[in-house]
Point group: C2
Chain length 574, copies 2
């Protein structure tokens, strides 16, 4: 026995009810054409995810209900049962899945487990559901649930299986970080094996401000195998025939089932559907299972995050300050992949401290990428500032002020170009820099989006290396790889003059930021004074990050909504 | 019968365990000297509030337990029972109140109702308590609870009173917004009346990043009167004798009591304390009840917020760009009140578009305030930018680019002065500007703190007027009040060229932002095209606000943690 399911792994545009509806209708048509029993959309696909404080607007909630009713009308005379994510409004707002069939709104499921950690704030917006939903479809029991609901040993998944469901359909909007794709596959296949129940896991794809959804929707079999995986970081609509075991309860061939008792729990909502589909089409899809290299995966994640930020906000072109260093080189490459070379403008802004090779490297990069570039010198502007500041700065010495001034002149130039031509400035800072405050507020930190904000410097190099290999030629010049990193804001400056070597720095940062280990604990592995110094830099620079531009999360803990540290704090471990 | 309580309305410094401990010891000593039965501290006083993601650090939690143990030791041979806010750690972290007496940790209460709206994220950090705590103190039943616990008809307060408590002690960290002080007094006095039970409400005072705690701790009588109110926006330690009714259960003089049944609910934790204090001192405190004018209240709130931000972060001095306009004039006045005139530096940065009266007004203001100022001209710097941008800007027309350029030159100058002398730059934008994006990112938006970020332009004028009256002389020059607001970034520019009159704008903003009303609904009161235009400006400028500097919340909904709108969104009501 088989259930035919169409998985809709599409890119929703937050708040774009008309645009999302168009995608929904198109996917329903495909599912119907393929004679599917079910078509499943990602979590809150109708509104886009996460809608954040738009949920607090009654007008927004009403509009979402209005559009769900449009889908109900559209479903008239169609055989396929539609499972679509929306916000239900009863005595409160619920993160919900609507069950729609042949012009009728058959019922709804309210998400139980609301994540309120990391980037999530779902307790701010939604009330928890308290009902378990099982669809009896032609006498086959199908459990439906939403995202987090499947990620707990005592959540809805558990109770649905205990009550005899033969298939689980989960609608998700699960943001990417490196490691999650592997974890997800391991977790879902183990759950399927454990409960002896196939799982259809439908995930959102696309970028939304600080997060990117990687898609990679999965179907697992009751044996715990991955039957199909949708493409990562791309849209895909696929129809699959999923094998269902007919009589699970007495299946003595599989002793695992005997451990699953049919405990009844309160508030089981059973929705019965009888449907007759005489199949003409046959579905042949071969097994797919994607495994990307770390560098490639992160590259694809940030590329999608950048593209969607620019495009969904109604822009097309970006401008990047090219220093000849690795960060701006990689960001330019990412931008070209995301938006095309004609939409990327490079600005070289040499100062009196810029080395000639930096200018050469930046030029070579721009030419290799095929992007337009300009050279704008900052020296004269710098001295005009120095001149006007002469009086107030009399009797003071040159210090970091003059370094920051150069960075801010560059920031101002990029913003002027942005204002004049409508290009969005891309910030080029990496996570190691942003963590330690090795960057100038309103200087190199300016921009509308920061593609590698959550990428450590050591990963920046690896991604650049991968990129050249991927392109089959040396797009990012070899010299950029070999020269020591420098901000070039004073003569002979090197990053490593003030920071520990990046191999060490990045490891300490990971333990301190992502694992929240104490300075004591980290010092078991690294030199204590170095650890203290790094922890101090991280703590002291919260104020800069608070004004930092957004970028996409690719690690377990990114700066932004994912890490909410106070600025004012006297707590220190250093 | 009376219970003597010392209320500790002090200013905690987040993460400053040693500093907070010193304040705690000192307050305990005062309570003990006054022969108090109880000394109560604000919510999480030991750590400071809100500790945000520091709670996710095990090392932070451990340190807080270590310091609670110090307080236990310190309490040895003291009669006063100590109620102190800290983070309890069992199987999870709890927002808790410790009950400490004579060298013993007698018990703890875990907060039940965790706010997760507005600026609060308590579900991110804490598990809810499930036990109701009643202290039987010399056979008097005292209910203790934390902040939000008192703000619900079915919360701990309710169950405590139903179980016979004769006094409620609530430990709070309740952030200020205008209107809350009045609401709090009304609510608590009504609750006291309704339950026929006095309430001691001990609130935190002080600024912490985006919020300020206004203190104003209250004691209400069982008749619903306010017996005492601590000073708003100031530290205060006060000892009071609170009248307790001896046998509430049979008090037939008051028919209200008859409605309160002694329903038992599960998990009542009763902590018995016998204590003998032979009183020598007598407490005579007269009734106090503060009522401030709106302008005065907001002025005090932002002054405290600013002072604490600067001081707690280890700074002393600030620098402000003085344009001769109302916003920068008021901010300078606030800074002088917060930090003293010797700690405020004014910078006048006239351009070719600055009117002579602007420079005169700014000079007069600086002289009236007694602050030092410098004049730094931006014209030459401006033309040096224009010169370097000539090639790339060839065949383009002058537009907003050139206006933003001037603002960014000023921002860069202020930051250079900040870097050189270690002064924090104060941003001077008001809420009306920030809401509509009438400001330049990295220009007039630069700074470490933004004192009037949550103050509407119409309130800015009222506060300035109040300030002059309060000082008894015209500190802010009369001309600043009468001239039309202008950014002076092009010839004869006026705010009202592009924005509706502030009286209308501010009302629309309040309904759209604070009340979350739809454009439809607001248009019932105001011209629809104007409402649409304002809503569009608010929506379109989220990206600027996301990089905006922090400032203190004084309204029901401020920009920052209090309003979490997506940048990328196609939802619009305009």
């Amino acid at each position: 026995m088989k259930i035919r399911v169409t998985i809709v792994q599409l890119n929703a545009h937050l708040g774009d009810f008309d645009g999302n509806l168009k995608k929904i209708y198109n996917a329903i048509d495909i599912a119907e054409k393929n004679q599917s029993d079910f078509v499943v959309f990602p979590e809150l696909f109708l509104t886009g995810y996460p809608p954040e404080d738009l949920v607090l607007r009654t007008s927004f909630l009403k509009k979402n209900i209005e559009y769900i009713n449009k889908i109900v009308s559209y479903s008239k005379d169609k055989k396929t049962v539609i499972l679509i994510g929306y916000i239900d409004v009863e005595d409160d707002a619920f993160n919900s899945l609507a069950i729609i069939h042949n012009g009728k709104f058959l019922g709804k499921y309210h998400k139980h487990l609301l994540p309120n950690y990391s980037v999530f704030d779902e307790h701010r917006y939604f009330k928890s559901g308290n009902e378990i939903t099982i669809i009896e479809y032609n006498n086959i029991k199908i459990g439906i649930n939403i995202c987090e609901d499947i990620w707990s040993p005592i959540g809805p998944l558990h109770y649905q299986v205990l009550n005899g469901t033969q298939l689980i359909i989960n609608s998700s909007a699960s943001p990417y970080f490196y490691g999650k794709r592997k974890l997800r596959k391991k977790y879902l296949s183990t759950k399927s094996y454990d409960y002896h129940c196939p799982i259809v896991y439908c995930n959102l794809v696309g970028g939304q401000d600080e997060v990117v959804f990687d898609g990679g929707s999965i179907v697992t079999t009751s044996e715990g195998n991955i039957m199909y995986e949708c493409k990562p970081f791309e849209e895909e609509i696929v129809t699959l025939d999923i094998p269902i075991e007919e009589n699970l309860r007495t299946n003595l061939q599989d002793p695992r089932r005997r451990h699953i008792s049919s405990t009844k729990i309160p508030n089981i909502n059973i929705i019965k559907i009888s449907n007759k589909i005489e199949r003409k089409t046959k579905i042949n899809v071969s097994t797919k299972n994607f495994s990307l290299k770390r560098e490639e995966e992160i590259f694809k994640a940030v590329t999608l995050g950048l593209r969607d930020y620019i495009i969904k906000n109604g822009f097309k072109k970006v401008v990047i300050g090219l220093s000849g260093g690795m960060d701006s080189s990689l960001v330019a490459a990412i931008a070209v992949e995301a938006l095309g070379k004609d939409n990327v403008l490079g600005i070289l802004m040499p100062s009196m401290y810029s080395s000639s090779h930096s200018i050469e490297d930046a030029k070579n990069l721009a030419e290799n990428l095929g992007i337009k570039y300009y050279i704008i010198k900052i020296e004269n502007i710098y001295y005009s500032f120095v001149n006007e500041l002469k009086e107030i700065f009399s009797n003071t010495k040159e210090d970091i002020t003059e370094e920051n001034l150069q960075a801010r002149i560059r920031g101002t130039i990029l913003m002027a170009i942005s204002n004049k031509f409508g290009h969005i400035v891309l910030a080029t800072g990496n996570k190691s820099e942003i963590a330690t405050g090795y960057s100038t507020l309103y200087g190199d930190m300016v921009g509308g989006f920061s593609p590698i904000k959550d990428v450590y410097k050591t990963d920046v190099y690896k991604m650049a290396k991968w990129y050249n290999k991927f392109k089959g030629k040396e797009i990012i010049p070899q010299n950029v790889f070999v020269k020591p990193p420098s901000a070039e804001l004073r003569p002979n400056q090197k990053d490593q003059d003030t920071l520990p070597p990046y191999e060490i720095l990045d490891e300490i940062l990971k333990l301190y930021i992502e694992k929240e280990l104490s300075v004591e604990e980290i010092s078991e592995k690294f030199d204590k004074e170095t650890v203290k110094y790094v922890a101090k830099l991280v703590d002291k620079n919260e104020y800069k990050r608070r004004q930092g531009v957004i970028g996409v999360k690719v690690s377990e803990r990114s700066f932004g909504k994912d890490r909410r540290m106070p600025i004012t704090s006297k707590y220190k471990e250093w």
